[in-house]
Amino acid sequence: MTSNLLEVRDLHTRYGRVEALSGVSLEVPAGHIVSVIGANGAGKTTLMNSVMGILPSTGELIYEGQPLRGIPLETRVARGISLVPERRDLFASMSVADNLTLGAYSRRQQKWRGDLDHVYERFSRLLERRKQLAGTLSGGEQQMLAIGRALMGKPRLLLLDEPSLGLAPLIVRDILRIVKQLQAEGVTVLLVEQNARASLAISDSGYVLETGEVKLSGPARELAQNPELTASYLGG
């Protein structure tokens, strides 16, 4: 039996008086890739931001058996949770190398130099462009840099918010392949996607979010065949 790296129980998040998440529960077993899919406004990004601690929420968040309540975002990073946000939030006017170096900020020791080489091995494009400013990279390269920066923090739980956003299909394929590799290296991944078929293809399990609630859930393979999922995307 695998234990859960992250457990979300009855999570509620509000923007002012409007509730964006109303009672979401989900489990992310250690070593798995779990997908959360849903339309715009379903609450996917809100879910990621609540887990990360960017947004205040009520309900339980249990990571490695410990509650995350009251723990600020920066401490969650130090405890091994990394988020690659939808907007990537790179340091646009700093070099690729600086962006990656800063990824290791929460690890006080100097041992990150080896990890830097490792990221360059994984994304050779970043090595070529290490002196370039992050803001001048193409969309796909920026996404690689955002993932690379998150990996520099040696996360045990990686949160990926729509990594395919605005990218060409070939690049999306590359990025999802890398996510799969990371799983093989022992990183647990919570992946938010609109690109339902592709993300379920690499996932172990999945959840479909609609207007702040979990509508469907189950093993990824079953979910991908579920006619309701196709219906909610193409109205057919």
Binding site: L83, R88, D89, A92, M94, D98, L102, S106
Partner: protein, 349 residues
């Protein structure tokens, strides 16, 4: 024009350059503080005043009032920190914080009280001055700005103006209404052909340049420096790699206070500083900072040096109007800046 007289022009230029170098330091601090914390730090000039006047008080062998301000702020900051820790269920850490702050306070008090009457050598007094003024930065950040972290730039600006008034009022209480000068670090002049430059002016220019180089290396080469740049570029991105905005804010304000205090020590021998000089000194740094759009360090420094030169020439030919000239200059600069700053529409995908 009289100012182009070969005997007067070099003197005015040297004067302008010396003051401009100090304004440039302030401009850099202002750009840094704004970029990292979004605070338009009107009280930057007060650090200069506290620097000069603390040193002047030590020269007289008296305990400067700066000590009491540091101790009071330390106490308030420790209580605020302890209170917020206790609310998060970490009451014990809160108690430790108060204890450590008390020890620090007693230590600072003991050292100052022992050194002040000794009339120690100038360099010891300078170090003590920096040691008393620099902590004001992070303490003021914790007490005034950290609770306003999520406020708009305008609210932070109003808080800055309020803090400026508080510090000016306190400076009057601590140091009295008379202006003070501090002794020069070096006496004598350096003569290069027609141009005569005092060693003191040269020291100001060299020290400012060295400090700028130091800041450059700090931002380019060290992890804390990069972290500050990262916070300035993208706050959320910085938090996502584990840089807390509060610690970035504290570090930034420490640098700002240190730069201000050093500026005060450097300017002390050449300008009679009074309790209320800070505002005008700081604003001149501001004109420079705004020329750099509150973003660009080199433009800010260049702008500030330009302000120093304009002021120097204006004070010679139109002394009563020099402030009007310097501050009217800011209007076209502001206009140019706001027209060249592109604003992105808020509604996006």
């Amino acid at each position: 024009m009289q100012i182009f007289d070969p005997t007067i022009f070099p003197i005015l230029a040297a004067d302008g350059l010396t003051n401009g170098a100090v304004y440039a330091l302030l401009a850099l601090a202002l750009v840094l503080v704004f970029a990292v914390t979004r605070v338009i730090f009107i009280p930057q000039g007060e650090f200069v005043v506290f620097g000069t006047l603390t040193l002047a008080t030590l020269q007289l062998g008296r305990t400067p009032g700066t000590l009491w301000l540091v101790l009071a702020l330390l106490g308030i900051a420790a209580l605020m920190e302890a209170f917020s820790l206790a609310r998060n269920g970490q009451a014990r850490r809160g108690l430790v914080t108060v204890g450590v702050a008390a020890l620090l306070g007693v230590g600072t008090w003991a050292v100052t009280d022992w050194l002040a009457p000794l009339k120690a050598p100038l360099w010891v007094q300078v170090i003590l001055t920096l040691g008393l003024v620099a902590p004001l930065g992070p303490l003021l950040y914790r007490v005034v700005y950290q609770p306003l972290q999520n406020a708009t730039v305008l609210v932070l600006l109003i808080a800055s103006v309020a803090l400026h008034l508080v510090l000016t009022g306190l400076a009057l209480v601590f140091f009295g209404p008379e202006g003070s000068r501090t002794p020069a670090f070096f006496e004598g002049n350096l003569t290069l052909g027609q141009v005569t430059l005092s060693w003191q002016s040269l020291l100001v220019i060299v020290a400012s340049a060295a400090l700028m180089l130091g800041l450059y290396l700090f931002f380019e080469r060290t992890m804390p420096g990069k972290a500050l740049r990262a916070t300035a570029v993208n706050r959320l991105g910085a938090r996502l790699v584990g840089i807390s905005p509060s610690s970035a804010g504290m570090l930034t304000f420490t640098l700002a206070a240190l730069i201000g205090a050093l500026g005060g020590v450097l300017i002390g021998p050449s300008v009679a500083v009074t309790y209320d000089s800070g505002f005008l000194i700081g604003l001149k740094g501001f004109v420079g900072a705004i020329i750099g759009g509150l973003v660009s360090y080199p433009l800010a420094a260049a702008g500030a040096i330009l302000v120093g030169l304009i002021e120097s020439f204006a004070s010679f030919s139109l002394s009563a109007w020099k402030e009007v000239i310097v501050f009217t200059l800011i209007l076209p600069v502001l206009l140019w800046r706001s027209l060249t700053t592109r604003h992105i529409p808020e509604d996006e995908e």
